[in-house]
């Protein structure tokens, strides 16, 4: 199987190159058979990449330690789910996995567009296969996954213990899906630029792909945060690590694109800007992979660093030059007759939203690369850590939260005084009221007060939108409130799905504010029977016990949780000692309530005295982060869900001589 896998990669690389060549030749000489041959070659590349991936998986599952990759990232005692996850746990495997996702998406795109977008498809295929050629080149020439060892070790070195976690089995695939899916809108954008068909056909053709990419970028970031929260054991979920930043930046620009594209669809404006955002998002996904793989900036997540940096940098530069060149070439065609009725309008609000989102992306980018700049300019290594990112991004985040409330309800074209009063009076009043109530309740953290007030403001704008829609349906059709709500959402999925996403975002802001402003923590060394207070709880350490398995030795602490003198729970924070490689890790114990988490970490332990060092945190409102993610996912699914033809709307009934357009 191993030789088959290696051979499959080599043939896939040749076929991918062939697909690029034939697609471009077919487009240039207008030869349909060339284009078809290129597409068939791409499908073959997908099949071959599947074979290569299956071969590597087979080697992992059968413990073929003669293979360097298998010996390095697995062992006979590694549970099966992590043995499978080892596919993306190492450098070569993750690049092969990337190639698999990319070629799979290419196959879907080709099958989706057998009869449509025929002018675009040769270029779409050529772009996607160019990216595939790059990744296949990496696994063929630079970091081959099927490299054999001169001898066969009796046992493997095992997967990094930090990766042996449920969230690590789904976080990388989710993030990769998001990263790779960004290549599809990019490929269509390039095709639109090359063909000069710069209307909104390419945007409509890739709308679901963009949402798909955004959804998985969102989930990838969230799963990564959950993994960091559970595994790293420092009580937090986001440390502005370079690799976290790498995943966050494309999410920001993709979010900006999802908003600005509405203006192009509705008003035929911002064609250049939308092109820039799609290109930027794709380039940031490659930049993110470059950061993760190159080791140019140290990161807690860079489990697989190597000398791939220059190749990624070269590919990134090539893609940037080609895409910017195409935009400059097509600039005369991209220019649209931009006009606004008023600066106080939804169009302006969306543009401001874009400004802030891209501004945050730039701030994150700048902070991430500033150590490299500092070293190049001054020769001095510096660190740009969480305090910098928190201080710079907090005010921008609050502006963004404010715009999240303004955008959906301010009128298109021109907001009149009446419109502003009608739509904003109640939300502003509730926002102020919430702030005052919290102030009266004793909260003196002013940034938190502002954030909570803005959360209330945005929530009310969304609730009022739903309420008005339901009332309108009730008045017009006489439906009961539940039916009216379901049909309202069903008939305007994009709009109301977007509102649901905004609710998820507000919930996340609540959690971020709660954990940033009101976190309590304590590190204490205790002996059995000792108690200590934290965040309204009393914690009693009752001792620790050990147990052993072939793979891991466990030390399990027992901590009783008391409130008002009564025991309400018992938590069991663990220390795990992995045997291959020998590495201790923490397994946190969490008590979750609506108000927040009590989060315990078992630190040092002294066998002689049975004393333990316990780090305890109270993270207020953190549950809203995860549930906000669920709501965000639900909203995206509502938005992306295909509408039945009859349910699509509104339908424009044309007058004579005009064509029908459906939304």
């Amino acid at each position: 199987m191993v030789d088959v896998g290696a051979l499959a990669i080599a043939i896939a690389w040749v076929f991918a190159l062939y697909a690029v060549g034939m697609s471009l030749a077919g487009a240039y000489w207008r030869k349909r058979d060339f284009v078809a041959s290129g597409e068939n070659a791409s499908l073959a590349v997908w099949g071959l990449t599947c074979i290569a991936t299956a071969a590597l998986l087979h080697a992992l599952v059968t413990h073929d330690f003669n293979l360097e990759y298998v010996a390095h990232y697995s062992s006979t005692t590694l549970p099966i789910q992590y043995t499978i996850a080892a596919l993306w746990g190492g450098q070569a495997g993750s690049l092969l996995f990337w190639a698999l996702l990319l070629t799979s998406m290419t196959a879907v795109v080709l099958l989706q567009n057998r009869e449509t977008n025929r002018e675009f498809m040769p270029y779409v295929n050529a772009v996607l296969m160019t990216v595939a050629v790059f990744f296949l080149s990496m696994v063929l020439f630079i970091t081959p996954p099927f490299q054999r060892l001169a001898f066969t070790p009796a046992e493997g070195q095992d997967l990094n213990p930090l990766l042996q976690n449920y969230w690590m089995t789904i976080h990388p695939p989710a993030l990769y899906l998001g990263f790779v899916a960004c290549a599809v809108p990019f490929a269509f954008a390039v095709a639109a630029l090359v063909t000069g068909k710069l209307g909104d056909v390419w945007i409509r053709s890739t709308r679901r792909w963009t949402l798909f990419a955004w959804f998985f970028l969102s989930m990838g970031n969230l799963f990564g945060a959950e993994w960091a929260y559970l595994v790293l054991g420092w009580g937090g979920y986001w440390a502005w690590d370079p690799v976290e930043n790498a995943a966050f930046m494309p999410w920001l620009t993709c979010t900006a694109f999802l908003h600005s594209v509405m203006i192009q669809e509705k008003k035929n404006m911002l064609k250049v800007w939308n092109m820039v955002l799609v290109i930027l998002t794709f380039l940031l996904t490659i930049f993110g992979t470059f950061l993760t793989r190159s080791g140019v900036i140290s990161s807690v997540h860079s489990f697989t660093q190597s000398g791939l940096g220059p190749f990624f940098m070269g590919f990134l530069a090539l893609m940037a030059v080609l895409s910017v060149g195409l935009v400059l070439w097509r600039l005369p065609l991209l220019k649209s007759e931009n006009q606004l009725d008023s600066m106080l309008s939804r169009e302006s609000a969306f543009l401001l939203n874009n400004l802030v989102l891209v501004g945050i992306a730039f701030a994150v980018f700048w902070g991430t690369i500033f150590p490299v700049i500092s070293e190049a300019v001054r020769g001095v290594k510096i660190t740009v850590g969480p305090p910098f990112f928190n201080r710079v991004n907090a005010p921008l985040g609050l502006i963004l939260l404010f715009l999240t409330g303004v955008g959906p309800v301010i009128a298109w074209r021109r907001a009149s005084a009446r419109n502003l009063q009608k739509n904003f009076l109640l939300p502003v009043a509730v926002g102020f009221g919430a702030g005052l109530a919290l102030f009266a309740a004793g909260i003196r953290h002013y940034a938190a007060l502002l954030s909570f007030s803005l959360c209330a403001f945005v929530m009310v704008t969304v609730v009022v939108e739903f309420y008005r829609g339901v009332r309108a349906r009730q008045a017009m059709v006489g439906e009961n409130p539940f039916t009216a709500l379901v049909r309202l959402v069903g008939k305007n999925r994009r709009r109301y799905g977007g509102y649901i996403v905004h609710v998820g975002v507000v919930m996340m802001f609540l959690a971020i504010t709660g954990t940033s402003a009101f976190r309590e923590e304590k590190q204490i060394t205790v002996k059995p029977g000792d108690t200590f207070p934290l965040g309204g709880y009393t914690l009693r350490y009752d001792g620790a016990t050990g147990r052993d398995t072939p793979h891991i030795s466990y030390l399990v602490g027992t901590v009783a949780i008391l409130k008002d003198g009564k025991q309400i729970d018992t938590l069991y924070p663990e220390k795990r000692f992995y045997k291959k490689p020998e590495q201790p890790t923490t397994e946190v114990a969490i008590r979750s309530t609506l108000g927040g988490d009590l989060y315990l970490v078992l630190g040092a332990y002294d066998n002689a005295t049975s004393t333990a060092t316990i780090q305890a945190y109270v993270n207020p409102l953190i549950g809203f982060l995860w549930w906000g993610g669920v709501v965000l996912a639900l909203g995206t699914v509502v938005t992306i869900w295909p509408a039945r033809v009859a349910a699509r709307g509104p339908v424009y009934v044309p007058s004579r001589g005009e064509s029908v357009v459906r939304e």
Binding site: W234, Q339, M343, L351, L355, V356, S374, P386, A411, P650
Partner: protein
């Protein structure tokens, strides 16, 4: 449409000034807040831990690193305690660590010399972009308020059905 007045220059200048002032205020506030944190004479142990980066490779601050027997975080914590016991203020303690271990031990750039670029650039870029956006919006608004000419060109023709849908939607949804 033709009856609408163009945006007066004075109002445009006021909007631009407001945008620039907002960005300047944001930059100043962020840098000032950072400086005030650094200058607090009665800095807590936790604040000092958070101002220093653990050198064990975890990428976290000394406060957040929870590695068992961490060869970096534990001695650094002892050193913080020792410095605090000498009655030094936060600024002096951080300067001591920067001198001893190099600037890379500080968890965020200082606000002096070249490092100011780290703090100012994001807001400067945002400010410039905001001013350009304001100018652009003002130009588009003037264009939108000009008397409508006859629609011409392929773009205008292609847009026609969408514009009508938009008009219909706006009537339906605008409040």
């Amino acid at each position: 449409m033709s009856g609408r007045r163009p945006v007066p220059h004075s109002r445009r200048r006021a909007v631009l000034a407001a945008v620039a002032a907002l960005c300047a205020a944001l930059t100043t506030a962020v840098v000032a807040e950072h400086r005030s944190h650094a200058a607090e004479s009665t800095a807590s142990f936790q604040e000092l831990e958070e101002s220093l980066t653990c050198q064990c490779g975890c990428g976290l601050t000394v406060h957040s690193c929870n590695h068992l027997q961490c060869p970096s975080a534990l001695p650094l914590r002892d050193e913080i305690r020792a410095q605090m016991a000498l009655g030094k203020d936060k600024d002096t303690i951080l300067a001591y660590f920067a001198d001893k271990y190099g600037e890379k031990i500080l968890s965020s750039p200082t606000t002096s010399g070249f490092n100011v670029m780290a703090w100012v650039t994001p807001f400067l870029a945002l400010g410039i972009a905001a001013v350009l956006l304001t100018l652009m919006l003002a130009r588009w608004t003037r264009r939108g308020q000009a008397p409508p000419g006859p629609a011409s060109g392929p773009a205008a023709q292609a847009e026609s059905p969408y514009s009508k849908i938009l008009e219909k939607e706006l009537k339906e949804f605008d409040r």
